[in-house]
């Protein structure tokens, strides 16, 4: 008897140890929180409950007894009106109770509050294991300083910002002025900060929409990794120094362009996305302004070369974005976004092709405007013809394959195009001192 008792005890102890280890691996924070609790009695009860839940899930896993997954939210095509009405009445019944249950949850006796919360009938019987799994997915909304750099990088869309800053740098480098490193660095940093600010504000405005699209559902605000106040504060802390740096460190024209671009992106493009397909053209202007800023930073003025560069970036946006949006039509439709790919598919493909051809034309205009030598349109011809070919295929085939090919081509086409422009930059004429810097 003693041996049996000892063996049972050691078996139980082993189980507890195993469960504790699993708990620690899978939800260390929650587990440590339990351990740190001062009230020993409460810890013991909670600890036991927690382990009991773990035991149930482990048992189910080890015996391959998968808890029947909750039914998909897709109702059967022939959903009866009756069940919908039932759902309606459930909602109305639940509503008056929810404030009460909220205040009840403050009481120390959690069990009581759980019992008093109404269980919707439509959910059916919820297995304990599923409930625990759902509970484990709840995260405390506490800012973790270690994660902050990664969170802010995602909030500011750092990769997109890097691309924006590189187009600004290209504008600066292509401008007919001696390359001034301090000015370049100020422009670089200022534009980067302005872009971070604009992207953060955009994410702040679009949380419910981002939650509903696959491409954007893991953004920091959607996941609650950062509070909205902190996101907006971060945006302000980027926008103010960024614009100030551009205005007083570089020149007022560049600062004004930066500020205008933030406004255009956050207050025009973002709301327009859900109102009209014109948003794509506005967005293309937003993309065209950074190289303009680079040019004005170097020369202090907007001239034909600046507008050519802006025009190149403007045209590039169309094959890039229209091709991307072709694969996102379902998400756009469900999210209420007005995009050409959904509402005017023929126009979408026509515009993409049109602007691929415009890129060819603008390559030829570059030497005519003294931005580059005549070598440039010649050596850029192969890549320009290739993207135009892909644009034509997209126009003709109108399928996912051709849209993806065009999109991925646009990703390498732009940097290569700008690089070729740089290598063929028109050398400065003798006695050309370059424009005023500020």
């Amino acid at each position: 008897m003693n041996i049996i008792a000892k063996r049972s005890a050691s078996w139980v102890g082993g189980c507890v140890w195993y469960l504790e280890r699993r708990a620690l691996q899978e939800s260390p924070r929650r587990f440590l929180h339990l351990l740190r609790n001062v009230n020993q009695q409460w810890v013991t009860f909670q600890h036991f409950n927690f382990l009991r839940h773990m035991y149930v899930t482990q048992l189910n896993r080890s015996f391959n007894q998968q808890i029947k997954p909750k039914p998909e939210p897709v109702p059967s095509p022939f959903l009866e009106k009756a069940s919908l009405d039932e759902a309606k009445t459930e909602i109305y019944k639940m509503r008056p109770l929810s404030p009460a249950s909220l205040s009840l949850s403050r009481k120390p006796n959690e069990k009581e509050s759980i019992e008093l919360e109404p269980t919707p009938v439509i959910e059916g019987s919820i297995a304990v294991g599923t409930e625990t799994k759902e509970e484990k997915q709840w995260k405390e909304m506490k800012l973790r300083v270690d994660d902050l750099p990664g969170i802010l990088a995602r909030l500011s869309k750092i990769k997109l910002t890097a691309l924006v800053v590189s187009t600004t740098s290209a504008g600066f480098a292509l401008a007919p002025a001696p390359f001034d490193w301090p000015c370049f660095l100020l422009t670089f940093v200022g534009t980067g900060l302005a872009s971070c600010a604009a992207n953060s504000i955009n994410q702040f405005f679009e949380v419910p929409f981002d939650s509903n699209m696959n491409r954007t559902k893991n953004r920091p605000l959607v996941r609650g990794q950062i509070s909205p106040l902190l996101a907006v504060s971060f945006a302000a802390c980027c926008a103010v120094p960024g614009v100030a740096l551009l205005t007083w460190g570089v020149n007022p024209l560049t600062g004004a362009l930066g500020l205008f671009n933030i406004f255009l992106y956050t207050c025009c493009y973002t709301p327009l996305k859900r109102i009209s397909i014109a948003n794509t053209w506005v967005g293309a202007v937003v993309g065209a302004i950074p190289p303009l800023m680079g040019w004005t930073a170097a020369t202090g003025s907007l001239d034909a070369g600046a507008f050519l560069l802006g025009g190149i970036l403007y045209s590039w946006q169309f094959p890039h974005f229209n091709a991307l949006s072709w694969g996102l039509r379902e998400d756009y439709s469900r999210g209420g976004y007005c995009m050409m790919s959904v509402t005017h598919p023929d126009l979408c493909r026509r515009v993409a092709l049109r602007h691929c051809l415009a890129l060819v034309a603008m390559s030829a205009a570059a030497p005519a405007l003294d931005v580059t030598t005549w070598t440039f349109p010649v050596i850029a011809l192969p890549i320009n013809l290739y993207i135009s070919y892909l644009g034509f295929r997209f126009y003709r085939d109108a399928d996912r394959k051709s849209s993806r090919k065009l999109f991925f081509c646009s990703l390498w086409h732009l940097p290569l195009f700008l690089l070729l422009m740089l290598t063929c930059k028109r050398p400065a004429a003798q006695g050309d001192a370059g424009g005023p810097q500020s």
């Binding site: 939210p73 109702p75 959903l79 509970e135 709840w138 405390e140 909205p228």
Partner: protein, 174 residues
Amino acid sequence: MAALRPRRRALLRLCRAFSSGGCQLAPERGGERRDAAPSRVSRFCPPRKSCHDWIGPPDKYSNLRPVHFYIPENESPLEQKLRELRQETQDWNQQFWANQNLTFLKEKEKFIDSRLKAKGLELRAESGQKATLNAEEMADFYKQFLSKNFQKHMYYNRNVSEAGCSVTTASPDQ
């Protein structure tokens, strides 16, 4: 007119309350409530010692992550008002999106069914797999859905912007 100091204190408390939670926007009173959208009431209760909000997994219907708001012991009326506003907003958003997504799925099924019938095909192939239409065939549906629901989306967008303003400018005097 309230004195400056209490206003500042109230504003700081407001900021603290706003900072610890999710970005939720208040509804217009008597808005979309009549829409029947299954809304799961989560049985989650945070640990007693926690003094932060908790955010859950995405809701199956709305894809929005519910926030369980922390209620401090010494919550002021203003903080309570803000919290209730945020809770209402969250519920409103939840209902809208759950309804939106369910409607979308239902109408998509209807559309697929009608197109397959028009083609003379069965809903399920011989292998038992559900027959689907390709992306180009579905494009008609996406366009239809978007234009049909345009007014509804406009209404939502307007309210969401107004709500954003009311949450951020919740007056300390009331």
